[in-house]
Amino acid sequence: MKYESQNVARLYFTGAMVLFALQIVFGLLGATLYVVPTALPDFLPFSVVRMIHTNALIIWLLMGFFGATYYLLPEEAETELHSPFLAKLQFWLFFGAAVAAVVGYLFGYYDGRSYLEQPMYIKLGIVVVALIFLYNCSMTVLKGRKTVISNILLLGLWGIAVFFLFAFYNPTSIVLDKMFWWWVVHLWVEGVWELVMAAILAFLMIKLTGVDREVIEKWLYVIVGLALFSGILGTGHHYYWIGLPAYWQWIGSVFSALEILPFFAMVIFTFTMVYKGGRDHPNKAALLWSLGCSVMAFFGAGVWGFMHTLAPINEYSHGTQVTAAHAHLAFFGAYAMVNLAMITYAMPQLLKRAPYNQILNMWSFWLMTSGVAFMTFALTFAGVVQTHLERVLGMTYMEVQEQLGLFYWMRLGAGGVVALSVLMFIASVLLPGREAKARRIGLQAAE
């Protein structure tokens, strides 16, 4: 860590982990309701549990992106942040809005559409937070060195803010509502978020492998090019059955099938860089998360996405647990893991420790990855059975649910494992390692 103002990232990473834990708690509650539907009191129906689960996820991922940006921007721009004060103010506004939203949800204050349940004043608060952030980051880059990584990162972050504005456009037509809802949801996670993810991975590759920046930046352009060339028209795979023209079945199928390419490129990229790189960086855990991120994103977003993206298949699988399976592995592999990689890399530096508790951190990696993978398999099997019984044989929804209990129990069990691994991760990052061990590894570290 070379710049004092990078320290603001610590706040963001800590806040992200708090909300990560909250997301998992409500994930467990939701999974419980699938197997014991009367387990929770009336003020916690499934709808409220789900909105806290999904909103906490989105907010902690964004908080991680903000933290990652504040950490890497000074090193890329070779200058202090424009205003560390604004960065701290922005954090507390954002964290405050998140807490207010969650407490409000518990008391029935929500309004909107899926993932966008925040009441209007919270949505406006998010816009203020985004404006502060973009102003602060853009000013930092303008006065310093402009690199490809910071340009792509900022383009992604500006895109996040711009497409969020469609959260304010809610037509009375349900068809138009759905069409533009995807401008937020799809153009985020299958569009501009990929820019942020690729930029963070590129930064980590430079730091961890020592490969020449020129090489990494060229890769970065190729990856984000593949992401947007496939992802923009790939939005069409959400337009098959919501009252839009049939041509989307062709456009959506062809382009969204190509959405696997940027993720495949990221796997090749990370492994090639590590293979070529001469640096033996002491933070092995950060490297493990970075490689794991590209691999799990490839399977979750790429393979599991492709599995049900072609219109003739999607006609049957749409709106079943197949979608839920894909969503869990894709969010985890692509966006949770890139954040955990960055947190694992940056936190030891921010806390002025050598990168320690590596063993615990790596155990959490394997446990979390296995847990989410098992959860994904369970939901995939549930989804395939559901697709057949409901969409081929024509059984009713509730009859089919009764057949799926075993899979839902397996999902809950996997969720328990994930919860344990999340606690291990948080402990490994925040708690000091054993001093002696830290010193020993610290002496070996060459950097």
Partner: protein, 147 residues
């Protein structure tokens, strides 16, 4: 990475290509906007339908149910609930049955997914059902195949 691809060429391909695909996308969405309002959603969006949609949003119905396959998967798809309740043959009966169902929740039957009790007035219930009836008229390219 291939030697003949320079960084500035990669940059130009990225920015130019992205803009190109985005322009095509915006054009198609504009055409779809027109299609949605003239072809697929021909049943008029009355004030009751619009109000019903607001109730759907205000109570986060989509956080359990799917509509046209979108939403949560904790409760049944509602795109054709109007037909399932016999709305085509007996609209008044279907409306009453749907309202009674909503009013009778939660069932508290062990092992069965629970729907919360919502404090809705008669007008609100009417409008919500009207929104679901309206949704059932939309041309979804014959989705779902069954169920």
């Amino acid at each position: 990475m291939a030697e003949h691809l320079t960084k500035s060429a990669a940059r130009n391909i990225f920015y130019g290509g992205s803009l190109f695909f985005f322009v095509i996308f915006v054009g198609l969405v504009a055409q779809s906007f027109h299609y949605a309002t003239t072809v697929s959603e021909t049943d008029p969006i009355t004030p009751a339908v619009a109000h019903g949609k607001r109730i759907w949003e205000r109570h986060a119905c989509f956080d359990c149910h799917t509509l046209f396959g979108e939403g949560a998967r904790f409760a049944p798809e509602l795109g054709h609930v109007w037909q399932r309740y016999g709305g085509l043959e007996d609209p008044d009966g279907a409306r009453d049955r749907l309202k009674d169902w909503i009013k009778s929740q939660p069932t508290r039957v062990e092992g069965r997914h629970q729907m919360p009790h919502f404090d809705l007035s008669e007008t609100e219930l009417d409008d919500l059902v009207e929104f679901l009836r309206h949704a059932s008229t939309i041309n979804t390219q014959n989705w779902p195949p069954k169920g």
